[in-house]
Structure formats: structure tokens, C-alpha cells
Symmetry: C2
Subunit: 204 residues, 2 copies
């Protein structure tokens, strides 16, 4: 399998962390598609993904799969252990709920702050700095909410580490480039973040 990725973008990192947690990193060849060099906009890559997004998984027979979570679900079916999407109907539902919360309430706003206010995108895309400010305010509220949620359980979806924790970690780390950080005002979130950093998959 080939994984087209960018080393600094959050969505490919979700897949790399997922592979590391599964012990599958060695099964995949990684091909860098540098967003900084606009490699994702070149015709060769647009044949892999007309939306110009990373990551893409390419199978041995040439089939292509886009979208980080579609790739992770596919890998989970092929390699069920350790289960990162749950082990029964209710745990799967809870993990799906929390993965979506991590994505929609954290990763999406963090990405919009970056896109709409960071100099990296100046001259590359049209920016709306006011929307970045709205998303910054949103994230402060969501960090406080997540801190309350993590006061009485170890992981986002409950007692078990899951793909939802991977999504949240990639979101929070991607905030650093926009000076969004987990602070001392959210001690439970900080505890969770420290535990995430201690996992070997953190370096993926």
C-alpha cells in the first residue's frame, strides 16, 4: 500500500498515528505530497485526488481511497486488533460520536483559523480573518467543554483509547501554528494531552 501524505498536515497524521497504534507502519510506503511546494495541485496528484487533498491510500491493484477516516476504517476492517473504532454496537456508536465531535468541534475550527489568518496562505487562497477570530472564540469554549468531559474518564469516548483521541490530538497539535495551545486553565485536557504525548504513536 502507498500513502500519499504531507508531513505537517493534520489529516495524514491521523492515518500515520492510526497505523502506528495498529503496528502497521511498516506495511505502508509513504509518498510525500508537499502542500508547501504545491505538489497537491499538480496534474500527477490530481489524478489521484481531483480535490487536491491529502491523504490518499493506493492499494496494490491501483484502487484509490481518499479521506483519512475512510482509510482508517478500511484498515480497521483488515486488521481488527487493537480495535480503535469500538468492539460492540454501543461502543462503536459512542466512538463515532466522539470522533465526529473531535473533528467538527476541534479539527475543523483549528483548520479554519489557520486557513483564514495565517501568512502561509497569503496569496494562495482568499482569507476571511474575521472567521478565524470567530473560530478562535469557539475553540476556547470547546477546550473548556472538553476539559469538563475529561474530568471523569481517561479518553474521549470512555475507558478505552480510540480513533477519537487520535483526531483530537491531531487537531490540538495543528493549533500550535496558530498559537492555540492547551493551557493550565484546562487541567483535565492537559492530563489527557500529556498521556497522548507519551504514546509511541505521537511521533508518527
Amino acid at each position: 500500500m502507498l500513502l500519499y501524505h504531507d508531513t505537517r498536515a493534520p489529516n495524514p497524521r491521523r492515518v500515520r498515528m492510526f497505523l502506528a497504534e495498529k503496528g502497521l507502519t511498516g506495511e505502508v510506503d509513504f509518498i510525500e505530497v508537499s502542500i508547501n511546494d504545491r505538489a497537491h495541485e499538480q496534474p500527477a496528484y490530481l489524478e489521484k485526488n481531483p480535490l487536491a487533498l491529502v491523504p490518499v491510500l493506493e492499494l496494490g491493484d491501483g484502487r484509490l481511497l481518499r479521506e483519512s477516516i475512510a482509510i482508517c476504517r478500511y484498515l480497521e476492517e483488515l486488521h481488527p486488533e487493537p480495535a480503535l473504532f469500538g468492539t460492540d454496537t454501543w461502543s462503536r456508536a459512542q466512538i463515532e460520536q466522539w470522533n465526529r465531535h473531535a473533528e467538527l468541534e476541534l479539527l475543523f475550527p483549528v483548520a479554519q483559523v489557520f486557513r483564514n489568518s495565517h501568512p502561509f496562505w497569503l496569496g494562495r487562497i482568499r482569507q476571511a480573518p474575521e472567521f478565524a477570530e470567530i473560530m478562535r472564540e469557539h475553540l476556547a469554549r470547546r477546550f473548556a467543554w472538553l476539559d469538563r468531559e475529561l474530568a471523569d474518564r481517561p479518553w474521549l469516548a470512555g475507558d478505552t483509547f480510540s480513533v477519537a483521541d487520535i483526531t483530537a490530538l491531531c487537531a490540538i497539535d495543528f493549533g500550535k501554528i496558530s498559537q492555540i495551545r492547551v493551557g493550565e486553565d484546562t487541567p483535565h485536557l492537559a492530563r489527557w494531552y500529556a498521556e497522548m504525548k507519551a504514546r509511541p504513536s505521537y511521533k508518527a
Copy 2:
């Protein structure tokens, strides 16, 4: 089961259409949480969902499940037929990819146009009209892309109707309030849209 929903919001409609396609509408009691009346911000509802979002599914034993797609996946496990998330590893991966495309490339931008430019939200939330314009431009490109995709297959994820079609339909219909419509310049998308409107679940 109880479903807390708003009759005009797109995410609860995804669940209602899903229930209709499964023949399960009669199994659920529906409780209106009117966003227009700010019922979603009242303490009674915040106990169901601290994020003040609809829909929420409440089971007979009081367990709560948030997020439209988490609810749909849960229902799919309980009632596998007709399968709307795929029938084998690859079809499940493809449907997940396309459902995410429908959500991230259509539903999310449509919702942001509405939130950031529609008078409904004046005085309710802080708006960034420039971001709404960016999302309108994005949607025009995505409608053209989807038109090309639908030129040679009946449904978003291939030969079989799936949850991805439900998501895309709810996104496109939610665009109407912001004067975003499928036009004659995208004939394949218009063909798909006409077929969606002909399904009994469209009225859900």
C-alpha cells in the same frame, strides 16, 4: 426511541431520511427542538446535549447518542437491511469516503454560507460575511466537480444508493435558503437530484 430534532435543520433531516429508507420511521417518537425558538439553548435540552446541537437519539433506557451519522450507523447495526453504509469492506470504504465528501465539501460550506450571511442569525451569532462568499465560490466549484462525477454512475458512491446520497441531498436542499440551487449548467447533478426528489424518503 426518541429523536430530538428540528424540522428545518439539515442534520436531523439526514436521520429522518435514513429512517424512512429503512422503513423505521414508525419506530421513533419525534420531539421538536425549535432552533428558531432557541429551544436548543434551554437547560432542559442542554442536559441532552451540552453542545446545543440537533439531532439526539434517546434510547428506552435513557442512553443518549449525538451526531447524525453516529445515530445512522447505530441504526444500521440494529437494522442492517437495506444496507446504506455498504455490504463489504471496499463498498463500506467507498461509501464512507463519499459520505465525507458530501459532508465536508457540500454540507459544511452550505451551513457556513447560511450562518455567516443569512439574516436569521443576525443578533444571534457573530457572522463573517466574507467567509460566506468564499464558501459560495467553493460550492460552485464543487457542484461542477460533482456533476462530472455523476456523469457515469447513478449514485455518489457507485451503483448503489447510500447514506452519502442522503447527506448530499440534505446539503443541497439546505442551500435553497441561501439561494444556492442545482442549475441547468450541471445536468448530471440535476438528474441525480430529480431521482432523489422522486424517492418517498425525500419528504422526511
